[in-house]
Amino acid sequence: GAGVSQSPRYKVAKRGQDVALRCDPISGHVSLFWYQQALGQGPEFLTYFQNEAQLDKSGLPSDRFFAERPEGSVSTLKIQRTQQEDSAVYLCASSEPLYGYTFGSGTRLTVV
């Protein structure tokens, strides 16, 4: 597609529920990133893939967070046993070499 597509656009989860957030990157983009943006804050790095390899997951806040990109294209960020502090906008970005980042519109997760 022309841009990075994320779904769902909004997600309300009850505390303790598992959620899965999807990212469709720009076709052919090798690198894919997930960021978390809390209300009133800048985005914070979660994890990075190069093709299907997860090269950096240092930003994942806990072992409840898991990301995958099994075929080097679509990626899923999964959060298990959601908690209120997980409420945020989750941003996905894909890029070509040399810093052509394109961000999706994000998934706004609200945990109630």
Binding site: F33, G42, P43, F45, Y99, F103, S105
Partner: protein
């Protein structure tokens, strides 16, 4: 680890007035620098970037930023703002020594243009 400080959380200005949004980053051997803009209910869009070469970089809509290595700054400026510039602006840095893949963002500056 890299960090980015945007000194102003909110900047209100009148239409057609000049504006400067400040950004400082923690010292590093060499970095790439970016400004992103986020309009209401939209995703982040790249406004401009410094990779190398001229320290003054410009966007297509009249913004410019100057890389100042000695002051570790990358302030964003526009000589005359429009209502349509109302948005949140994020400064970001990536560290060349770490492969320059990960962006570290500042907390953002909300620019509000008053008529």
């Amino acid at each position: 680890a890299q960090s980015v400080t945007q000194l102003d959380s909110q900047v209100p200005v009148f239409e057609e007035a000049p504006v400067e949004l400040r950004c400082n980053y923690s010292s590093s051997v060499s970095v790439y620098l970016f400004w992103y803009v986020q309009y209401p209910n939209q995703g982040l869009q790249l406004l401009l970037k410094y990779l190398s070469g001229s320290t003054l970089v410009e966007s297509i809509n009249g913004f410019e930023a100057e890389f100042n290595k000695s002051q570790t700054s990358f302030h964003l400026r526009k000589p005359s703002v429009h209502i349509s510039d109302t948005a949140e602006y994020f400064c970001a840095v990536s560290d060349k020594s770490q492969g320059a893949q990960k962006l570290v963002f500042g907390q953002g500056t909300r620019l509000t243009i008053n008529p």
